[in-house]
């Protein structure tokens, strides 16, 4: 019995050590994020968006949106891409062999006509069935191709894209009107050095209804599961990505909104189709190449909300999505493990990748271990019940503080949400360890297991149900 107690106690001590290390890393990253947010806010006080918007000197952008079975949202999403506030851009929607009415909806909404279009085939992609141009919006091109996956569709869109910058977006994302201007404003500040830009995406059950009249995200979904996901995204962007920007170790320019200089994509051969997901792998690949060759570069995250994407409204769908993310992280980290603690990779190798390993790769192992150890230790009396409960409460409050930090950074930047939503976000903070994290834990365990089995399927979650339009 005493051996069991000793093992349990040491397991709990190890897990406690891990928790301290993770929270320490998070705390450090929040400090960097706060410095970066202050720096951005300071810069913004002396920037004229109007002049950049009206200038003929602003560099044009190609927006590329791969869509697969997005019929309920594709029209609203495409309209939001076309309505972005930017002097010159084109929108290329790539229908990746959808089996639903996605293409029909696009044809109906935008009056598409087939065109003959010749382009440079810089990247391999599945065969194209037809290319259409909209009669209503001349800067909209729709490509209908054989199903080949998201990376394949992005590569197809890149082949057709004409401009020097490419903005990849998800087909279920509603872009805020100033999103492209915000992103390009950063890129244009130093076009030689800044090669990639990403930004915060808000979550909603029905993103097409989540924008205010002036085209910026302004409403928090009322469903708790979506509020928790929103908090998760807030923490990921404002607590981590801003800090990564400060350290130039941005590890994931998210697929829902990523601006890349097209010459960089061309040099790297476009998006990889051999990984389950394309965005994180591309970001790692950029770091690997540029660091190895000692070239100056930056991948930055905006401190602005650039759009709203659809979050799963059912736990089953959420777990399916997050287990895929876990697999993607593991695939990428394992593939690029040579960057870990290697001098040529600088801050990415010594801070970024270790942070990822600590907070994402090892998390399910320690979470599982901690859960089992605390449970058994409490049952056999190795740890008093009060201690277990107090530890849980302390962790919940630490989580609450992390959430508060993210909410604070977001609110100082945008002042977008009404006070009522702000209170909800802060109040939900300590609850997520009880009501949300258990599902994330399950998804991570499942994702890790599937990664070990070599599963690379996408498991796309079905679209949320929407009320019938009158």
């Amino acid at each position: 019995m005493s051996t069991l107690r000793a093992v349990l106690q040491w397991t709990v001590v190890c897990c406690f050590g891990y928790v301290l290390a993770v929270y320490g890393a998070y705390g450090l990253m929040i400090a960097y994020s706060a410095v970066e947010e202050r720096f951005r806010r300071r810069r913004r006080q002396f920037e004229s968006f109007d002049r950049v918007r009206q200038s003929m000197l602003t560099i044009p952008v190609s927006i590329v949106a791969p869509v697969y079975n997005e019929a309920p949202i594709v029209a609203a999403a495409t309209r939001s891409f076309l309505d972005v506030d930017y002097p010159e851009f084109e929108v290329i929607v790539v229908n990746d062999g959808s089996t639903d009415e996605t293409l029909i909806v696009l044809q109906r909404e935008f009056d598409l006509v087939p065109i003959r279009h010749h382009f440079r085939r810089r990247y391999d992609s599945a065969p194209i069935r037809a290319i259409y141009r909209s009669r209503l919006r001349p800067n909209l091109i729709v490509v209908d191709k054989v199903n080949g996956g998201k990376a394949d569709s992005l590569n197809c869109g890149l082949n057709i894209a004409r401009y020097r910058y490419v903005c990849g977006v998800d087909g279920d994302t509603i872009l805020a009107r100033p999103s492209l201007l915000n992103g390009m404003r950063l890129a244009l500040a130093d076009p030689q050095r800044i090669i990639g830009v990403t930004g915060h995406i808000a979550i909603s059950g029905a993103p097409e209804h989540a924008l205010a009249r002036d085209g910026v995200p302004a409403r928090l979904d009322s469903r708790p599961l979506l509020v928790f996901q929103h908090i998760d995204y807030l923490r990921s962007f404002f607590n981590n990505r801003l800090g990564w920007t400060r350290l130039n170790t941005m590890l994931c320019a998210v697929g829902a909104f990523m601006i890349w200089r097209s010459d960089v994509l061309e040099e790297l051969g476009g998006f990889s189709t051999t990984f389950t997901c394309e965005d994180i792998e591309l970001t790692f690949r950029v770091h690997e190449r540029f660091r190895r060759e000692g070239r100056p570069y930056e991948i930055v995250s905006l401190a602005d909300t650039v759009g709203v994407t659809e979050g799963p409204d059912r736990i089953r769908k959420l777990v399916a999505q997050r287990e895929r993310w876990q697999r993607v992280i593991l695939e990428t980290v394992v593939h690029y493990r040579r960057m870990l603690f290697r001098r040529p990779y600088g801050a990415v190798g010594f801070v970024g990748v270790p942070f990822f390993v600590l907070s994402e790769v090892l998390a399910p192992v320690f979470e599982l271990l901690a859960l089992a150890a605390i449970l058994v230790a409490t049952v056999v009396g190795a740890i008093p019940v009060e201690s277990s409960l107090l530890t849980l409460a302390a962790l919940a409050l630490m989580n609450g503080l992390m959430t508060s930090a993210a909410v604070l950074l977001e609110d100082r930047t945008s002042r977008a949400y009404p006070v009522r939503d702000l209170i909800r976000l802060v109040a939900f903070g300590p609850l997520d360890i009880f009501l949300y994290r258990p599902f994330m834990f399950w998804a991570r365990v499942k994702g890790t297991w599937r990664f070990l089995r070599g599963d690379q399927s996408w498991h796309k979650f079905e679209r949320n149900a929407r009320p019938a339009t009158p």
Binding site: R43, R51, R116, D411, L422
Partner: protein, 334 residues
């Protein structure tokens, strides 16, 4: 293991900390909303016939350093009247905070504002220079124009950003831009010519662009082609014809687009020949240009349908099919 009472104290401390942070977030937001409303009210009042002398210093500072407008200018003038020496002292500090004092002095039309802006530009960091450019760009005065042109020439702030600020005022800066067009640095000449495009109605801009067609730098020749396209005069067609055969690919691409912009029907055949260019960018520009040229573009593209070069045939077929799809384009532009 950690004793229960220590854990309890730590949890209680965390609870208090969380509650304080939460209250601070919400409180700061409520306060900010109130101040924003008040600032809006003050701005409207001062933009009308309101007397700025009636406002407290704090309210004036908040307003004078906020979004530009008549209210902000009135508040800044009042602050300059009340406390010019203090503002000047702050504007001479080394810290970034001086930029706010600089903005108030410039908006308040202080006679020392531009001297201080120039000093800040010389001694300040990249962020201070960025602020100096933004402050000068707000002001429509000759001193501001001069400062921005100096920054463009010296290149101590990204030239593309300075040029963006200069673009709306380019028509009144033509003499200065012509002088910059003879600058020894090719990048400065490029931006000078690019800005002349914003003053395309001025005959001096066209003359300068014609002169720039023989520049040694391809970037400048490309910019000159764009200016000529914006000028819209048909007498530049012979000049564009020479540029269509330039050795630098982007000059050929700009020349092709410019020929489309001015409706150079006489150049349609030369443009169609570019459908076989070795550069994809030139071929794409040629297609766009032929589409704009209407009937002449259609005829020239049709003649390339039997070209030896596969790229040229594909490009021509694309142009012809676009005209078939939208026959009104033939009439409209042709």
């Amino acid at each position: 293991m950690v004793p229960t009472d220590v854990l309890a104290s730590a949890t209680a401390a965390l609870l208090v900390l969380w509650a304080v942070v939460a209250a601070w977030i919400v409180g700061a937001r409520v306060r900010d909303d109130r101040l924003r409303r008040q600032r809006g009210l003050d701005a409207r009042r001062l933009a009308g016939a309101g007397d700025p002398a009636l406002l407290s210093r704090r309210r004036l500072v908040r307003l004078a350093d906020a979004e530009p407008g008549p209210g902000a200018s009135a508040a800044a003038r009042e602050l300059v009247r009340r406390e010019s020496p203090r503002l000047i002292r702050r504007a001479q500090r080394r810290a970034y905070g001086r930029t706010h004092a600089l903005r108030v002095l410039a908006r308040g039309e202080s006679p020392v504002a531009y001297g201080l802006l120039r000093a800040a530009r010389r001694r300040g960091s990249a962020d201070v220079r960025r602020a100096v450019v933004a402050i000068a760009a707000e002001q429509q005065t000759p001193a501001a124009d001069e400062l921005l042109l100096d920054i463009l020439a010296d290149g101590d702030h990204p030239r593309s950003r300075t040029a963006t600020e200069l673009a709306p005022r380019a028509p009144r800066l033509v003499p200065y831009l012509l002088a910059l067009g003879a600058h020894p640095e090719a990048d400065v000449r490029y931006w000078a010519v690019m800005l002349l495009r914003e003053a395309a109605a001025d005959p001096r801009a066209k003359a300068a662009a014609v002169e720039a067609l023989t520049d040694t730098a391809g970037t400048v020749r490309g910019a000159a082609a764009r200016v000529l396209g914006a000028c819209g005069a048909s007498d530049v067609q012979p000049l564009l014809r020479a540029l269509l055969a330039d050795e630098v690919f982007f000059v050929r691409a700009h020349a092709a687009r410019a020929a489309g912009d001015i409706g150079a029907h006489a150049l349609a055949r030369e443009i169609a020949a570019l459908l076989a260019d070795r550069s994809w960018w030139v071929r794409a520009a040629a297609k766009e240009s032929l589409l704009v040229l209407g009937a002449a573009g259609h005829a020239a593209a049709s003649s390339m349908l039997s070209a030896d070069d596969a790229f040229a045939r594909d490009g021509a077929a694309e142009v012809v099919s676009a005209f078939e799809r939208e026959p009104q384009a033939l009439v409209a532009a042709g």
